[in-house]
């Protein structure tokens, strides 16, 4: 049952990213609210706080992508898919992850590493007064998120393999909804 255990470990990882993303969203919501209140009521503006808004926003949706992959929340064109048996769906997910998702996620992650490390080497900061330093952190979210998408994709492959091997009851295979 190694494959099942591995699938569960990957699921735990993806769920953790989802929890982090949810926290980032709440922080972002209050961040934007705070900035509006400060500007309108107290005539005070902080460029750093304004930049933090999109930092939180970006990290939130980027980390949300692998999480959503694990929860089956990514939209599919299901004109045909919905009528297929559980096993056929599993084959599509297995092959799709292997030939579409993984190469894409890994290649973007690979170029993302160079992208982020360049910002690190230059010591890149915001160009605006009072803006946030350490631009490499938010840039590093790109390779991190795409590696995580790849990992989550491996999770989807394992789920498909385990379904094909009969380790998952087919009924459990229905994608969860919102």
């Amino acid at each position: 049952m190694f494959l099942l255990r591995l699938e569960r470990a990957i699921n735990t990882f993806s769920d953790l990213l989802g929890k982090i993303a949810a926290l980032l969203f709440i922080l972002m919501l209050f961040n934007v609210f705070f900035d509006v209140v400060m500007r309108y009521l107290f005539n005070d503006v902080s460029i750093g706080m304004q930049e933090l808004e999109w930092h939180l926003f970006a990290a939130m949706f980027m980390l949300g992508v692998p999480y959503t992959l694990r929860t089956g929340g990514h939209v599919r064109v299901d004109l045909i898919y919905e009528r297929l048996t559980g096993n056929k769906k599993a084959w599509i997910d297995l092959l799709g992850s292997l030939f579409l998702l993984l190469p894409f996620a890994l290649l973007v992650a690979w170029y993302g590493v160079g992208f982020a490390s360049e910002a690190y080497e230059l010591g890149e900061t915001s160009g605006d007064p009072g803006g946030l330093p350490y631009r490499w952190i938010i840039k590093a979210v790109i390779p991190f998120a795409f590696f995580s998408i790849a990992i989550s994709g491996v999770g989807l492959m394992l789920k498909s393999v385990n379904t094909l091997l009969g380790h998952h009851p087919v009924a459990r295979y229905q994608p969860p909804t919102h």
Binding site: N43, V45, I47, Q50, F115, L122, G127, D128, G130
Partner: protein
């Protein structure tokens, strides 16, 4: 430029060199976008078709502020942008666009080509495998559109203004609040007075933003007296070009830059005329002397801090200050005296 002295390869008279250039601007962006296109056209004609430059706009590469990295990495051979956009990456790139209370366009061109500016720019950019050339000047930019009048330093307190970069830093020192607003929401923000003021460029490009319909005061400039855009060239690309094409490219860039300066001047005059006809009650204002004085003091202090923190910054700031001192005397007794003598009639 020292790189010019580098030995070029034996010229192969038939070989066509194809360069890819990325610009910060969206396609069909007037004036700014015309400069690289004029340049490419001139280079192709002068080289008899041996130098072909294609231009990708922001809509294609989607990285308006990634030009520095993309040209550095060689994904593009050239770029058209502005030097001060890179100050978050390389702080000393700040000085090669324009500075608050700095030189006017003719003075600054004098500094670039004859006053050591090009050499200093090379000193900053060569570390990154890049070459930078003047890329076209907007001329004096306007101080911006204001919803309320600025009569004293008190009026700057808590003034919410969209004004990015170093000029924002200067205003912040005097109690104003530089504010980030996405370009698409600027109109609504100024109209609804979410912000009190904003600066954009000048009539040449402000007209299409429509700010003149919603803000009564148009302040004259102080913060960008001579905004010079930039041609960036990847050094490896440059070295691959035969000597004659290097020279053709250099001349094309220099000519296109100067052409843009003329075009900006012309379009500002034309568009200001249009704005004034459509909205005769726009009020042109200048900041009162004490406000300008305080801004100048804040500016000097900030420059002192920057000079103290970095020897190369100090060298650039000093070079600009010395050159401005000398050239301003001439500006005063030539253009300024001429205009003064006319206005006193």
């Amino acid at each position: 430029v020292a790189a010019l002295a580098a030995p070029a390869q034996a010229a192969d008279n038939d070989k066509v060199y194809r360069l890819k250039m990325a610009e910060t601007w969206p396609s069909n962006f007037p004036i700014f976008g015309d400069a690289p296109r004029n340049m490419a056209k001139m280079a192709e004609t002068m080289s008899n078709g041996r130098l072909k430059i294609t231009i990708d706009s922001k809509n294609k590469h989607k990285a308006p502020f990634g030009i520095f990295d993309m040209v550095r990495a060689g994904q593009y051979d050239m770029g058209h942008s502005a030097s001060y956009y890179w100050k978050g990456k390389v702080p000393n790139t700040l000085y090669f666009t324009t500075m608050p209370f700095g030189m006017t366009a003719p003075e600054q061109y004098g500094w670039f080509y004859n006053g050591g500016g090009m050499e200093l720019m090379e000193k900053v950019y060569s570390k990154y495998g890049l070459m930078s050339f003047p890329g076209g000047n907007t001329g004096n930019q306007m101080g911006g559109w204001f919803q309320k009048e600025i009569n004293s330093l008190d009026d700057l307190q808590g003034l919410k203004m969209r004004i990015p970069g170093f000029a924002g830093e200067v205003l912040a020192k005097l109690g104003a609040k530089p504010t980030n607003i996405p370009a698409g929401e600027l109109y609504t923000a100024l109209e609804r007075r979410t912000i009190d003021a904003l600066e954009w460029v000048g009539p040449s490009l402000d007209l299409r933003m429509g700010f003149h319909k919603i803000a009564p005061y148009y302040y004259t400039g102080w913060h960008e007296p001579a905004t010079e855009l930039q041609f960036l060239v990847n050094e490896r690309t440059w070295k691959k070009l035969p000597a004659d094409l290097q020279e053709i490219l250099r001349v094309a860039m220099r000519t296109a830059a100067y052409d843009m300066y003329i075009q900006s001047y012309h379009m500002s005059a034309e568009n200001w005329d249009l704005m004034k006809k459509a909205h005769p009650d726009i009020q042109i204002k200048s900041f009162p002397a004490d406000v300008i004085g305080a801004m100048k003091t804040a500016n000097t202090e900030l420059l002192k801090e920057k000079a103290a923190a970095d020897p190369l910054a100090k060298e650039i700031i000093t070079s600009q200050a010395m050159y401005m001192q000398k050239s301003r005397v001439w500006t005063d007794i030539s253009d300024k005296a001429y205009l003064n003598s006319l206005s006193s009639q």
